[in-house]
């Protein structure tokens, strides 16, 4: 909703702890990202990767510590957030309208994720990998400074993985920040690899 920030994007997570449902998910976590950084977040299931992304997105509140972000944020998590009955093009257009982004940005995002052939197909008919590509296209079209990608490689074929790698490196080269939560090791040059440990349950 806000207009594009003039200052450089940044993320600063300082000594953050999160308790969700009586369980300590993150503790003493500090992350700093500057413009152009790609941060790869890894860790076992349930170690708080998605929690960290939701925290930075402002969808969760930290129990302790502080989080500051500069710049617009786009999130692609396991929820597609596209209306199932609309065509891919129209569903993406809805968010482009919300972001005040142009139709060109949407077309470019469709091309980047190789979705032109599927543009007129209703979202409910997409396969797992195609849904993932559509959700990444939503992030691309948003023209946000900070991308938070939760397991973006899941379900993607190798050609799409290459496309995603390319999109991530281009975005970072243009001064954006990308946080990728993934299980596999990074296939691109990353600024930091952040390994999350499961905090000991002493609450």
């Amino acid at each position: 909703m806000s207009s594009r920030q003039a200052s450089l994007p940044s993320i600063s997570v300082d000594n953050v702890a999160v308790i969700r449902g009586n369980r300590l998910v993150l503790r003493g976590l500090t992350v700093a990202a500057r413009s152009g950084d790609i941060i790869w977040v890894r860790g076992a299931n349930g170690c708080g990767k998605s929690t960290l992304l939701r925290l930075i997105a402002g969808l969760l509140h930290a129990t302790a510590g502080s989080i500051k972000t500069e710049g617009r944020i786009a999130l692609a998590d396991e929820n597609l957030a596209l209306d199932a009955n609309l065509t891919v093009a129209k569903a993406l257009m809805f968010w482009a309208d919300m972001d005040g982004a142009s139709g060109d940005a949407r077309s470019a995002a469709l091309a980047d994720m190789d979705l032109q052939a599927l543009a007129q197909v209703p979202v409910r008919f997409l396969s797992t990998g195609q849904r993932k590509r559509a959700s990444i296209a939503r992030v691309l079209a948003s023209k946000a400074d900070i991308w938070l990608l939760d397991e973006p490689y899941n379900g993607l074929d190798s050609a799409s993985c290459v496309r995603l790698d390319q999109a991530i490196t281009t975005h970072a080269a243009n001064g954006g920040i990308v946080l990728v939560a993934a299980h596999q090791p990074p296939s691109i040059n990353v600024a930091h690899s952040l390994i999350l440990d499961r905090p000991e349950a002493d609450v």
Partner: protein, 215 residues
């Protein structure tokens, strides 16, 4: 502003394509069709009680769209994406309530013309009934979004929704039925005041419920 309009338009489109628009209308008209079978063709009795039955039908029809108002959007991540873009939960709730006014209140108001004809309401009463419902239906739209936000994701959401709706709508029903009496003036004013209070408070109640439901 354009984004807000797009969100309202999405609500109306979802109601239109998802069948949520027709369900309350069909229910409302079904009550109007069935009621004369119960009372028999007693014109005077129908004229005296028909308006009240339409009021009850309108209140209960409020419950019908509840399950598709908030829960699907929460599960699909739409609400997260809006929060991420800096939308306050109150603003999202307001857009949904305005969407409901278009997708629920207006169709029901139009169906009242048909419903009152089915029951055989005197023409003089139709105007009063329409005015009263026009005042109350925005409040009912607000209540349906609020209840949907409160019960989203709970098991037995519909039953709980009914329990929440009935006590809050009793004042609307009392004043609404009061407008159908010989002298509707005072009841209409009280109805307007009650409906306005509920309509004005519902975005805040629904917004708080949306916020509390985000995990």
């Amino acid at each position: 502003m354009k984004a807000f309009a797009a969100l309202v338009a999405r609500e109306v489109r979802l109601a239109w394509t998802g069948g949520g628009l027709w369900l309350p209308v069909v229910f409302y008209l079904a009550v109007a069709t069935l009621f004369p079978f119960v009372t028999g063709p007693d014109k005077a009795l129908l004229a005296r009680t028909g308006g009240g039955i339409l009021w009850i039908a309108a209140l209960l029809a409020t419950l019908l769209p509840i399950e598709r108002l908030i829960l699907p959007d929460r599960q699909a991540g739409i609400l997260d994406q809006l929060a991420l873009r800096g939308w306050s939960d109150e603003l999202v709730a307001t857009a949904k309530i305005i969407g409901q006014i278009f997708a629920f209140a207006l169709p029901l108001l139009l169906a009242t013309v048909v419903g009152s004809a089915l029951i055989g309401l005197p023409e003089a009463q139709l105007g009063t009934l329409m005015l009263g419902l026009a005042l109350a239906l925005p409040a009912l739209s607000g209540l349906s979004v609020t209840i949907a936000a409160l019960t989203a994701g709970l098991s037995g959401a519909s039953a709980l929704g009914g329990l929440l709706l009935v006590p809050i709508t009793i004042p609307l029903l009392i004043f609404g039925a009061g407008t159908l009496s010989e002298n509707p003036g005072n009841a209409m004013q009280l109805l307007a005041a009650t409906a306005l209070a509920i309509t004005a408070l519902s975005p805040f109640a629904a917004g708080a419920a949306l916020r509390a439901g985000r995990t």
